[in-house]
Symmetry: C2
Subunit: 407 residues, 2 copies
């Protein structure tokens, strides 16, 4: 039988991620392509205690629950943001989702008709680009400097494209790990407000900041667009985030917070998409967060110290001869390094040479709106341990060497 797929699903089906994942099941394969946190840092012992408490409370933990998500967890989030991020948001304006990827999918499904234009920072999150492609959006990528997206480009994009929304990750974008300045944040918000353009602010990596600053200090210096907008009161920002990178991905817990009209509509759409996220996991996470033995901020500090160490090792390895003339943006946080390959090497060709050696990375085009990104790769430094990182970078270096020797 022949199946005829809906238009716009084609791009999904031909993605090089398939190739990477088919290889990744091999023994001792090293993937620097994935979006994985370090599992040896999961708070597994305390989660074990939490699960005990949750089960003891009775069978409701296994039943369907509130469609918007477990209320005490939403209340915890509201209190945490108030204390640490200077955001005052009502519990009703928070929707718990199956990871931040679902929040992105829901808001784009809700707002974007095929042919609508969406502005993104370029490069941007591959997960967001996939959703935009499948929804039939016209995606326009905007350039940035070290302080964030360029205002002039944003202004021109808004004027010429009448975009439906602007997707941005001001704190440690995937893939570049860049950090917008406070000034740029205010200017961008002001511009979008005036033009009536919704900003979807992806803060999935926002808690992973390096340089040993406390969360309060960091948030004072780099307020989220959402807090600058009055946390949903302004109505110009939808705020997306996740516990996948800070606690554990298998809980599948992310959120969207923002204007009540949007949250209500996303909640209806979510019921259609998967009824609701797991009550069990939400109760489990909540229990962990209030567990006396667990301190979320100490845990974040631990992650950030460790990830910064791993990043430094990766930067050391980039000094080796094979990587000569490669350049990169210095990340201030997050989980990725965005590298421009030496000798204008093509990242997809390099991937095909690297896979048989047992290593993978993410080719730049997957993070790029429209054409481009061919000479870039995204490297994950949060997951691989020291040995894996050494080996992985060596193997990619070897592959690069084969190309540069040939030319």
């Amino acid at each position: 039988m022949k199946y005829s797929f809906a238009s716009r699903t084609a791009s999904l089906l031909s993605s090089p991620m398939r190739l990477i994942r088919e290889n990744a099941v091999r023994d001792s394969f090293i993937s620097l392509a994935e979006e994985l946190p370090a599992e040896e840092l999961f708070p597994i012992k305390l989660l074990k205690e939490s699960v005990h408490t949750v089960f003891k409370a009775g069978p409701e933990a296994l039943q369907y629950g509130e469609y918007e998500g477990y209320r005490p967890l939403r209340e915890w989030l509201a209190a945490e943001w108030e204390q640490r991020k200077y955001i005052t948001v009502h519990t009703e304006h928070i929707l718990l989702t199956t990871g931040s990827q679902q929040a992105i999918d829901l808001v784009i499904r809700l707002l974007v008709n095929p042919g609508d234009t969406v502005l993104v920072e370029n490069p941007t999150s591959p997960g967001c680009l996939q959703v935009l492609g499948a929804q039939g959006a016209r995606v326009v990528g905007l350039p940035s400097d070290k302080d964030g997206v360029l205002l002039e480009a944003l202004k021109a994009g808004i004027q010429s494209e009448h975009p439906k929304l602007f997707f941005a990750a001001p704190s440690f974008s995937n893939p570049t790990g860049s950090l917008w300045s406070a000034e740029r944040r205010k200017e961008v918000l002001e511009l979008c407000r005036q033009a009536g353009v919704l900003i979807v602010e992806d803060d999935s990596y926002g808690d992973l900041h390096f340089g040993r600053r406390s969360k309060n200090d960091f948030t004072k210096d780099y307020p989220s667009l959402f807090s600058l907008d009055g946390a949903g009161q302004g109505g110009s920002v939808l705020y997306i985030g996740s516990f996948s990178k800070t606690v554990a991905p298998a809980l599948r817990i992310g959120w969207a917070a923002g204007p009540s009209e949007l949250i209500r509509a996303m909640s209806s759409l979510k019921q259609m998409a998967d009824m609701q996220s797991s009550t069990l996991n939400q109760r489990l996470l909540y229990q962990l967060l209030v567990e006396s033995g667990f301190d979320f901020h100490n845990h974040l500090a631990l992650l950030n110290r460790e990830y910064e160490t791993r990043l430094k090792l990766m930067l050391e390895l980039l000094k080796r001869p094979a990587w000569q003339d490669a350049s990169y943006i210095m990340p201030q946080g997050g989980m990725y390094l965005w590298v421009e390959l030496p000798g204008a090497l093509d990242s997809l060709a390099l991937l095909k040479a690297a896979l048989p050696k047992g290593v993978a990375f993410l080719p730049g085009p997957l993070c790029t709106a429209g054409a481009g990104g061919e000479h870039f790769i995204r490297l994950n430094f949060s997951h691989p341990g020291r040995d894996e990182l050494l080996m992985g970078m060596n193997l990619i270096g070897e592959s690069i060497g084969e190309f540069t020797a040939r030319s």
Copy 2:
């Protein structure tokens, strides 16, 4: 700020389910509207032991896992179907989803362009109708008799509408609980095969069969369309199901199984929708299923005996004067009774009268393709205990009485 929602999301946002759910948070509110299994029958003690084993195995249970779902669980499913449902299916042709609702959403997103026609049995699952509405499908409802969808209507629908797919639940459809005869199953499959129309077979309630038959006996008498089609080999059936009704909803584990081309594409789409379902929950369910103290078939038999008892009580209550002249289809399994109201009462008007009394049911239009269903309601008998059921049916009866007394 004004938001302009994508076309076709409007129907979602105005659904009467909102009204029901806003009321359902009230104390001592009785909802016969929801799709809830009985939580007192959850295997909570054994799940507690399973979770212990899963955590002991290490942090991988909390990491991202295989995008298609935890392999041992897919293998368990394949073995179970082989033994109990006479279905031989390769592990690679099974995709684990966040409940069966996600499987429905994914296949419709994958195949249906706005304006494409989809055939459904009428009445049909409200969750499916929501997805079809949001995807912009033209939905054509087909009538049934006691043996299943009417062949002539299906034939005419295929010829005049060139549908993209036919959505059916031959074993205990939501809402009618009807059961197609073996003969009708074969005829429907043959017809769709010849016409090249994909059948999406929703078997979410298929294990909830009454009359104390063993699963093997039941499956021999009522083979799934999927097994008749050679389990994906024929390519004409996509098979959808769930553990939400048979183990626990909060695990959020459903599946799609079928032709490899479809499963691969749905898997890519799923990565875009929510990356993946919870590894933790999948490992937990797997552990329960292989736990020595747990027998899935005994557990199903227990559920089925109890649900049949609850159904009988509901049928008794329908003999009371207020319900006089109400009629219903006798369900052979599942969780719902589909009732035609006495005196051509309007179900939405009745709902509005019943809500202040503290009781809800599902109005028929939510289960109906196009217009219609006004005089029907769906009652859930699996969740309410004896007292709740008595009270709930009395309160609805009271509301009916107010209308019939007036007329």
